[in-house]
């Protein structure tokens, strides 16, 4: 138990270690990135991915999977670039409605005992459809205050780093260190015992899906703040990125086992993997495969650690 490198500790450290290794490789390949300006450019697109990964993590936590997240974030991005900019009140209402709709989805999945993969896959077409109605052709403009926030240049530490640390810590405290958080996670790990203890599983699901909706909205807003405008397909990649990021950061498909800080680190790792491969001057046809290889490598390391744990 007192061994310096227990499997448990190793597993906790693995996401951070993979990120550190990747960062070092990037600094070596492209020393320009080792500056305020470089880190800013390298990491700013990781902020919306991290928010999306946190959203997916809430869903993973209650043993579900969300295949509509990318389409949902595209929709919130479209709303942010149109209504929130021109008629802020309507925009706020629409975004709140999105969050409520997500909570309602959680209730539907729980009450009718439906497989979340099917429901969210179906919903992804609904979200995309609404997004096209909101913004038929690419365009719109980011509200000034979001643009200002996302392009802040604080002294000393680049804004994306501050944002990523804050996101990780806030969710960590809320989900891992609070009494309510224990119930929420417990419902994913062992639903029956939580229900027997008198907690409403329906309320847990609705809460988690609403939280996912909230972070989906934040992700869409952050994305528009960076791109300055939206289109209906802007974030489709985020569905798979968020799942991969959540798993890479130490989450598992069994429910209850999640890590907010790990999820943020996983999201950054995925975002940086793309930069790393492009700095390597790898042929783009190989890049997706190489991104997958990095993912498999990290997961294989984790399996090795788990295997060691079982042996002991």
């Amino acid at each position: 138990m007192t061994r310096l490198l227990s499997p448990n500790l190793l597993r906790t450290l693995l996401p951070g270690l993979s990120l550190a290794a990747l960062l070092l490789a990037i600094f070596y390949l492209q020393p320009r990135t080792m500056s305020y300006f470089g880190l800013n450019l390298l990491l700013n697109l990781a902020v919306p991915i991290a928010l999306a990964t946190i959203a997916q993590m809430f869903i993973l936590c209650v043993n579900d999977l969300d295949l509509s997240l990318g389409a949902f974030i595209s929709l919130t991005a479209c709303i942010t670039a149109t209504w929130l900019n021109t008629t802020p009140l309507l925009g706020v209402l629409a975004l709140l409605a999105c969050i409520v709709a997500y909570g309602a989805l959680g209730a539907l999945i729980h009450l009718r005992n439906l497989p979340s993969i099917v429901v969210t896959l179906g919903m992804s077409f609904v979200w995309t459809g609404i997004a096209v109605l909101v913004l038929p052709t690419p365009g719109g403009a980011a509200p000034g205050w979001i643009r200002t926030l996302m392009t802040l240049k604080p002294a000393l530490v680049p804004f994306p780093i501050i944002a990523l640390v804050v996101i990780g810590l806030v969710v960590h405290v809320g989900l891992m260190r609070s009494a309510a958080g224990v119930v929420l996670r417990g419902a994913g790990g062992n639903a029956k015992s939580v229900a027997r203890a008198g907690w409403s599983l329906l309320r847990v699901k609705v809460t988690m899906f609403s939280l996912a909706g909230l972070f989906g909205v934040l992700s869409g807003m952050a994305l528009v703040g960076l791109t300055t405008s939206a289109d209906a397909n802007i974030a489709l990649r985020y569905t798979l990125l968020s799942i991969a990021g959540g798993i890479l950061g130490g989450g598992e498909f069994v429910g209850g086992r999640v890590s907010p800080i790990g999820a943020v680190i996983g999201a950054i790792t995925l975002a940086l993997a793309g930069s790393f491969l492009s700095f390597l001057r790898l042929n783009p046809d190989w890049q997706i495969g190489a991104q997958g290889a990095i993912l498999i490598l990290v997961l294989a390391l984790r399996l090795l650690i788990s295997a060691r744990e079982v042996r002991r």
Partner: protein
């Protein structure tokens, strides 16, 4: 300030020696990158091949230090935005973009401009004001057809219009140009209009369907990829072959050549050359050189005439589109002509 003075010097130098290739030394240390969102059709492949050919020649001649092409794997805005930011970090002096979205990359483009990187967009252009745009004037592409016909047929006559894919921006633009041309040349009248979807087989069926209801047709105005199909439909209906404007495709040029040899058939052909990527390359080089370049440029079309037919056909691959690569002098002509 420094750039400005160098720029003025270069303009003087360019004016002084416009005919010869000028200002080679100034950009020899500069690196230019191509950020491309999609490579999945023959036009894009030809575009990349042209870039590679002209770019590597420029590197070999010492005009620039690097001309590297990067294509994103998934044609997604977020992916291309990240790619552009990576190119900034890699220290490229100019980034040439064929964009996945006219608006979605503006944030990344602004980052590039703020970092002092020259951004030139072409074909898929970006709207961020600090970038240079090389746009396609599809309207004009429709209009030149009618203007050519006005030269050939001074008495005017009936026209058949073949359009592209319904609901696509390009189709609306070319068609608007054709109609504007007809309005200016009242001797012409468009008797019928069909959608050929830029594909020979679709165009042939559509034309065959409408032909019985039409009076004598003097000429067919097209959008490219439909001229050969139209010719086949007229032949099958046993009607005299009108003047069919072609769209630079290999099968169209081949058919035109056969008719020319057999009966002295005359027409014209017009489309956009994939080699426009090389124009964007030279524009970026000129901006780096400090020359003043208008923020918005228009791509000249590639027109093939009766005289240039043989040469163009010989240079076009079977199944491909006629292409042209720009030299520095061609590009300067485009820049100053604007």
């Amino acid at each position: 300030m420094k750039i400005n003075t160098i720029g003025k010097l270069c303009i003087l130098a360019t004016v002084g020696s416009m005919a010869t290739t000028s200002a080679i030394a100034d950009t020899s240390g500069k690196r230019i990158a191509l950020s491309n969102n999609y490579a999945g059709n023959s036009w894009r492949q030809a575009m990349l091949t042209s870039w590679d050919k002209v770019g590597s020649a420029a590197v070999a001649d010492g005009v620039v230090a690097a001309a590297d092409a990067f294509t994103t794997a998934e044609n997604q805005v977020t992916e291309q935005a990240a790619q552009i930011q990576n190119l900034i970090l890699q220290g490229y002096d100019a980034i040439v973009i064929n964009a996945a979205s006219p608006e979605g990359l503006n944030g990344a483009v602004k980052e590039a401009c703020d970092a002092g990187v020259v951004v030139v967009s072409f074909d898929g252009i970006v709207t961020e004001p600090c970038a240079y745009r090389i746009a396609v004037d599809f309207k004009q592409m429709g209009k030149v057809q009618v203007e050519y016909l006005a030269d050939r047929l001074s008495d005017g006559g009936n026209l058949l219009e073949i359009r592209g894919l319904a609901g696509v921006f390009v189709d609306d633009e070319i068609s608007a140009g054709i109609h504007a041309g007809v309005e200016e040349n009242a001797q012409f009248e468009i008797q019928g209009s069909v959608h050929g979807d830029w594909a020979q087989d679709v165009a042939q069926k559509a034309v065959a369907g409408i032909l019985p209801s039409l009076p004598e047709i003097k000429a067919v105005v097209t959008q490219g990829g439909d001229g050969y199909g139209a010719a086949q439909a007229f032949k099958a209906a046993g009607r005299p072959t009108p003047i069919i404007v072609m769209g630079n495709r290999h099968d169209e040029l081949t058919w035109w050549k056969e008719q020319k040899d057999a009966s002295g058939y005359e027409t014209m052909s017009v489309s956009i050359a994939p080699g426009v990527s090389t124009l964007a390359f030279w524009v970026a080089q000129q901006v780096l050189d400090g020359n003043s370049v208008p923020q918005d440029l228009t791509v000249p079309f590639l027109e093939i005439t009766q005289d240039t037919l043989e040469e163009s056909l010989a240079n076009t691959q079977a199944g491909g589109v006629a292409n042209v690569e720009y030299t520095l002098d061609d590009s300067i002509a485009v820049i100053t002509g604007n």
